[in-house]
Symmetry: C2
Subunit: 678 residues, 2 copies
């Protein structure tokens, strides 16, 4: 180094803004490393992987005090030319390992060249997840064997990983050891390795390929629900979702809800093992199908992250869930689990693949709730936020920066369209939106698969393909709420007669009445009506949900929440207004009730993309205060009080500003009923 410090070129990297002087002739990649700039490289600067692409900027940069000319970098070289010819390189891009800094320069690192690029943006919680996967690809040059200084091929590979990438003392499972010698020789002592390092065990080589592996490394984020299993196939380098798919949980044949599956395990010897085998087969099939959708080899899936409620969690692990069916609802293991995917019977993906299962919060509040907590981060919220993951079992989180509480509430399957007379799961043909004219009492609705309302011109043609088949969860919620707004339903939940409420759409149904939403019988279709029993089912479900939220508010000693997030595949489709009319959720300014979509799935993807996210959620879960609804006397009180529409006890000032509920009463016996058991 004969240059003085001031004689060295000044380089500024954008968007990081990191700047510094480097020796003339320093490759941009090396300069980035010196200055702590996040610039990717798999081949370690050999001009092979192109991960270090950069975009030099030219002109005057008064802010940086730089006038950058094209001569600031060394000329386009043969390696870059070969790469461009062979694989293409966008205009204005250079390979950071080839272009050397000759003079003051401003260099932009495009997002795809950043290792820790931001991938999962959560507007609601105002945070981002940067790529920090446990499994990464490295290209290494390994010393050939020398019989006079014998050491194993693996030991020389280890030494190379340590020297070239700073990865110390890796291990290799047998399938990698078995492939090692051939890969090294085929690659002429240059191989790509997929190294898994989650910080809890020595780094492990999960895959090996001759030369540069260009097939990518993938991970699966799985949201294992009682009813539906959803999987996202993600690129472990970019975080991009390459394909998503969902299947019904095959355990449904053993019982629709959690408790009936626990009962099945208790009553049938080998029943738990049967359910374990069923779900493992489903995951294996799902992995294969989602890989096929994305057009990638399933053997390139090296990580699987699973979230699910405690019963799903235990059954996947092969643990009898019997303890989860009775107080004190003890989990076999509540912490995060790191396992070989093979131990979970996941076949077809990489033999060496690893699994990460998020921690459970409590016996009734599972890894799915933890994933929601990761995605929605109530623990980072300034506001007091209520996060409700709506499903057969609702997970409820309440808190802010200082404290987060969690519980679950057994809402039953009504919100998913089950146990509803014309109910069905959310699929094309299902009524998902309903309004009822308060004057004419006539309904209009929309079905899944069409954006037209039932009174729009062309509606019949638009729904011709699917037909109108039933009503899904969001549809029944809106229907019941609209019935209440239109005065077809009184505060106790009793449906009025045609005479009392003034519409022929109310028809007698045994000793009660039903409201006919759609009569397709003339054309061989179904009669879709809201029955008294449907209203009762929704009342039970909404009371349970509300009581859970209210119990957490009691625990925290608050009467109001600042905002509400509705999460879950289903939660995303709930109309906040109708949820508030029904009293599913506590009173809140309507614009502060938002939807988070499948937050559990998002949390699973975050944990797949980022080791930091894993340790974060593990720490968060330890800090969460768990509240058990099953034995809390106040839960029962809130549940009973919440049966009425509006609530018998709690005032709903925001709701009152929004809509005035008519004061009708259709009978004397419409008080809250005890929750049904079965």
């Amino acid at each position: 180094m004969t240059e003085t410090e001031s004689g060295k070129p000044l380089v500024v990297f954008t968007p990081s803004g990191r700047r510094g002087r480097v020796a003339r002739g320093t490759p941009v990649l090396a300069a980035a490393r010196q200055l702590g700039v996040d610039l990717d490289s798999v081949c370690g600067g050999r001009g092979i992987c192109s991960r270090c692409q950069i975009a030099p900027a030219f002109g005057d940069f008064p802010k940086h005090g730089i006038h950058a000319t094209p001569e600031a970098l060394s000329p386009w070289n043969a390696v870059e030319e070969r790469y461009r010819t062979k694989r293409g390189l966008a205009e204005g891009r250079r390979l950071g390992c080839q272009a050397c800094i000759l003079d003051d320069a401003v260099i932009d690192v495009p997002p795809e060249s950043q290792v820790h690029r931001q991938v999962i943006r959560k507007a609601a919680s105002d945070r981002e997840i940067a790529m920090d996967p446990a499994t990464r690809l490295y290209l290494v040059d390994v010393e050939p064997p020398d019989m006079h200084h014998p050491s194993g091929d693996f030991e020389r590979l280890s030494a190379a990983l340590s020297e070239q990438w700073g990865i110390a003392a890796p291990t290799a499972p047998l399938p990698v050891l078995a492939r090692l010698q051939q890969a090294l020789r085929k690659g002429d002592w240059q191989v790509s390795v997929a190294v898994f390092d989650d910080g809890t065990m020595p780094p492990a080589i999960l895959g090996i390929w001759p030369g540069l592996h260009e097939g990518g490394l993938y991970g699966l984020a799985i949201d294992l629900g009682s009813t539906t299993i959803a999987a996202h196939l993600c690129d472990l380098a970019t975080g991009a979702v390459r394909a998503s798919d969902g299947v019904m949980n095959p355990q449904i044949r053993f019982g629709e809800d959690l408790m009936s599956r626990v009962s099945y395990a208790m009553m049938n010897p080998g029943g738990a093992a049967e359910m374990t085998a069923a779900v493992r087969t489903a995951l294996t099939d799902l992995a294969r199908s989602v890989a096929a959708d994305a057009g990638i080899e399933p053997a390139l899936i090296f990580e699987v992250v699973v979230v699910g409620n405690p019963v799903m969690h235990h059954l996947l692990l092969g643990i009898d869930p019997v303890e989860l069916g009775q107080a004190p609802f003890a989990l076999a293991a509540s912490g995060a689990l790191r396992l070989a995917a093979a131990d979970l019977g996941l076949a077809g993906i990489a033999e060496t693949a690893r699994t990460y299962i998020l921690p459970c919060i409590a016996g009734h509040v599972g890894a799915d709730a933890a994933a929601v907590a990761l995605a929605e981060a109530p623990d980072r919220s300034e506001d007091l936020v209520l996060v409700v993951d709506v499903g057969t079992n609702a997970e409820i989180l309440l808190g802010n920066r200082s404290r987060v509480l969690a519980c679950s509430s057994p809402t039953g399957p009504a919100f998913e369209g089950a146990q509803i007379s014309a109910g069905q799961r959310a699929a094309p043909g299902a009524i998902e939106r309903v309004t009822i004219d308060p004057v004419t009492k006539e309904p209009r609705f929309r079905i899944i698969g069409s954006s037209r309302w039932s009174d729009d011109p062309g509606f019949a043609e638009a729904v011709d393909r699917t037909g109108i088949t039933g009503i899904c969860g969001s549809g029944i919620i809106e229907a019941v709420a609209e019935m209440r707004i239109a005065g077809l339903l009184d505060a106790s939940g009793l449906i009025g007669s045609a005479e009392a409420a003034g519409t022929p759409r109310l028809v007698p149904d045994g000793r009660t009445h039903s409201y006919v939403l759609h009569d397709g019988t003339s054309t061989g279709g179904p009669l879709i009506a809201v029955t008294q029993s449907d209203v009762r089912a929704i009342q039970l479900a909404k009371s349970a949900l509300y009581a859970g939220a209210r119990l957490l508010m009691d625990e925290l000693g608050v009467e109001r929440v600042d905002r509400i997030v509705l999460a879950g595949a289903f939660g995303a489709h709930i109309s906040p207004k109708h949820a508030m009319v029904l009293g599913m959720i506590p009173d809140c300014a309507l614009e502060r009730v938002t939807s988070a979509g499948n937050a559990a799935g998002t949390g699973a993807r975050m944990a797949l993309a980022s080791r930091v996210a894993r340790s974060e959620i593990e720490a968060t879960v330890r800090r969460i205060t768990k509240v058990e609804t099953a034995v809390a006397p106040r839960f029962q009180e809130h549940f009973v009080a919440a049966n009425a529409i509006p609530h018998a006890r709690d005032p709903f000032p925001e709701l009152a500003r929004l809509v005035r509920l008519p004061e009708v009463q259709f009978g004397a016996g419409g008080g809250p009923r005890r929750r049904r058991r079965g």
Copy 2:
């Protein structure tokens, strides 16, 4: 603590001699811990496991300045009485967790109450191995679940292990998690756990039982030879060998020696996998049979240590051994391997069992040689010691405290009785000892299974059961050496005729002669003779062995060694005198040639018993200088020169003092032949 230091009772523990003052009323177990005395306990002082038995001594101990009376300890209590009634307690023994120190006391810790008791005594190398197994049993009391502070049963077990035993952050494989809840409830929140902690990964719970597990924990030490697989079932608490067994390596059907197995793998697609499956099945069967011999559940085997040559090592691991068949003889992995036993397809033992495979030294010098190095510890020897593990492939170690060298030499199977006309493996009926009268030229011999010599009265009756079936390795070595001493064989290895050597036992055999050791043909038995081709086979084998040793001596620049250790199941039976007459080993004072028995098996047992032994051998192997015989020109020179008996070049002064080899010559063409290939 109101007592002054000098007012406290003084306690001296024997045999350690550790002494100190403890508060009056301190239980002996607690006092032992305070003073760093090695006193075992699995139950942590609950009076359940009886591992802490101690023997108080009474009387005057002027050396310690103590007069100990029976009142020095608290009286025999109900817990001890219950234990004695239920399970028995030897006279004079107390439970260390129950007996409290009231006055000055001398307390003996019997060997079986020491955790780190000495188990493997190596007189030759003057060292002992203390028990320090990776897997140990612990009794723990676990907090029952509390639904208001939910945490998994596993997390509470972890907390208990940390508090009660200082075991931090253990992991549990799925089979343990699956059994956990039932064990905890059945044991009323007291369970025994087998914890594996080898220092390379977080401690892992490999087994769990309700209450105190009294079935023991076991390990298997396996010496995986090309011909024979030997297994020792050891108690992981005491180190005691509970049963040993050996079976033929089923891979023999794919090729008798290593190179023919490598060829089989090269020539047959799937051939390596076939051999892998064969050996894994054999190990599984062997584990079952050895457990049955000992009368223990195979599921109580939690650790398996395997040693073997590189080809056996690779085939067991499922690695194609093709690279070991050609220069530069690259091992896939040379370091020690820590694997799940399930990954090696070892079934029937504990599902969670762990495997430790010793490091290989070089492409031709395997984990079996490393085990010999561990057992014989040439690196701790003051003397320059030559360790020879005799088998189809001989492993040779030479060195002392300052430096150790290693090589292997392909001796072929002659030393194991193969490729010998009347040869057989060492089994009842095989001639194992031979002498020939130098005057009468008449032989006498002994067979395996009887201690009588063939000219002893009652010999015929003694061998009636087995018959005389053939000659084994040690028998053929002695026969050839004795023929040379008796002048029936010249220095070139040529057998004389009846006329030239003066005995009718020499009979023509084609163009050469054979020496008839035993003619059983009259009674339908075999004719057991030493043929010219047998002598040639032994000459090739002994030349290879000698050349390997001589090459190491060259490398070290020495002309003599101080002592020689013959190792290996077969090495143990070689007569040092005859080995020296043949020139298998370099010249050495006869009394300094010793046998180490199955040193590889001993090394495997050491590694099973002690984590320290594992790190020790890993460090030693890294320091060993590896010498490759296959490409060393001097090896060929030594090999050719070693063909004669005595050697053509090297002087054997010690041998000359022992016996004078007659200077006979039976033909002109008896010079050394080139090694046969096939």
